[in-house]
Point group: C2
Chain length 261, copies 2
């Protein structure tokens, strides 16, 4: 069910995911509370960017982190010192186990059938347990100065993800997806990042090191797919970089939703 992972597994990519996790940690994790002793599943932990946050913010939980990539798991194990039960597994291999909470971040965007995945996860939750889903939505990226060249490089991410069977415009539909998968008491909310020159840590940590770095990570795939020429790509990136200079602004929205069994 999982499709090709668009962003790749290079060291630069691992660094990007780490920078992103630090800058966005409060935005994505703020307000979540997992009590000590509860059993938590992180489904699709990747290189552990969010796993670090889960163990730091919720001491005493029993965390099981799964991913289907051995390579990602190896990196995650290097990064996370706390005790985590790592498993290289697909969801269906967890059948019969039970968790108090499930955490799924930046995973559904890669799946061709997110409702099926959410339904499988629901069966792993104890009655009254919660699932937390976090996704971005690339249409929420808008900026000053405006630029159709910059819009075009962002569209490459959307197109490549769609071609791989995923959806990088999924943030807006986390609530309907959870509903279709049978969850109750669903609450979805936008969590926006906005950066301008009065907020240099966000200009650097988000606009540059998270968003532009993410776009740049698909350059070769975008050019190989013939989506843009090298010159168009360079122009788009240059215009994105202008949004991180004085006078520029950048906006992006993540969505976080919680559902219950």
């Amino acid at each position: 069910m999982r499709t090709d992972y668009v962003h790749g597994y290079t060291p630069a990519e691992t660094r990007r995911l780490s920078d992103q996790a630090q800058t966005l940690a409060d935005l994505l994790h703020g307000g979540l509370e997992y009590a000590p002793g509860t059993r938590v599943l992180e489904a699709g932990c990747g290189v552990g960017a969010q796993t670090v946050q889960l163990v730091d913010r919720h001491p005493g939980i029993e965390l099981v982190a799964i991913d289907i990539s051995e390579e990602s798991l190896a990196r995650a194990k290097e990064r996370v010192e706390a005790r985590v039960e790592w498993r290289c597994a697909d969801l269906h291999e967890l059948k019969g186990e039970q968790f108090d909470h499930i955490f799924v971040c930046f995973v559904l965007e890669h799946l061709s059938d997110p409702v099926a995945a959410l339904t499988s996860l629901r069966k792993l939750l104890r009655p009254g347990g919660t699932i937390t889903v976090i996704e971005g939505d690339h249409q929420s990226a808008f900026f000053h100065p405006r630029s159709t060249a910059a819009d075009a490089v962002i569209q490459c991410l959307v197109d490549l993800q769609a071609e791989a069977g995923g959806d990088s415009l999924i943030g807006r539909r986390v609530q309907p997806l959870l509903q279709a998968a049978g969850y109750d008491d669903i609450r979805a909310e936008p969590r926006a990042v906005y950066a301008d020159e009065t907020l240099p840590h966000l200009v650097d940590g988000f606009t540059r090191k998270t968003f532009i770095a993410m776009v740049e990570s698909v350059r070769d795939k975008a050019l190989a797919a013939g989506l843009l020429t090298a010159a168009e790509w360079a122009e788009g990136i240059r215009d994105l970089e202008r949004t991180a200079e004085p006078g520029g602004t950048f906006h992006y929205t993540f969505f976080r939703a919680v559902g219950r069994t």
Copy 2:
């Protein structure tokens, strides 16, 4: 400097602005504090949709509300029972007066030279006084289900506003505008509205009665300008309405910025 007012002055439009003010009141006004006895200027009060909030939330302020439209001011006076000093005036007629705070909401989007207006306003602030600017940004409107027909009717608002000399994508640049006008200590932040079927008051109060109603208010102008056919318009509105039905979602972002002299 003020351009044609795109949204019109009909009773339906006055009702829409009132519904909008109620639903959005906390989002737009929350956290603002004007102490009793301070002198506050609302520049461009229109039909008084925000004036009601200012007098309710900040008892004891001395509020001066100006607008260049006699008709709007007449409606505003009917609506607001509290003591307000109403003036039918342009900004330059206030020369020599001084205020502790200035509040400007949904006004800059209509101006061909917002920096000039902000600069004139700055000269009306006492040293250390603040200006609060609130604007929307129509590119922040995205929704589920996606629809190019719905995108097209929203684009009509953007095009009509641009044609009239304004900018309905201005929200993203309130910080650079305040900076260009010479303000200090500028802080801009996005204030997002998100509605899905678990939030029926927002589906009704925002998606339907604020956003879709706003789009519908420019139907005749959009068709007269030849931007869309009547059939395309109807399709776009129908698709927007689907975002307010169960399973649909709607997202919009306002920007609020505060600057100081």
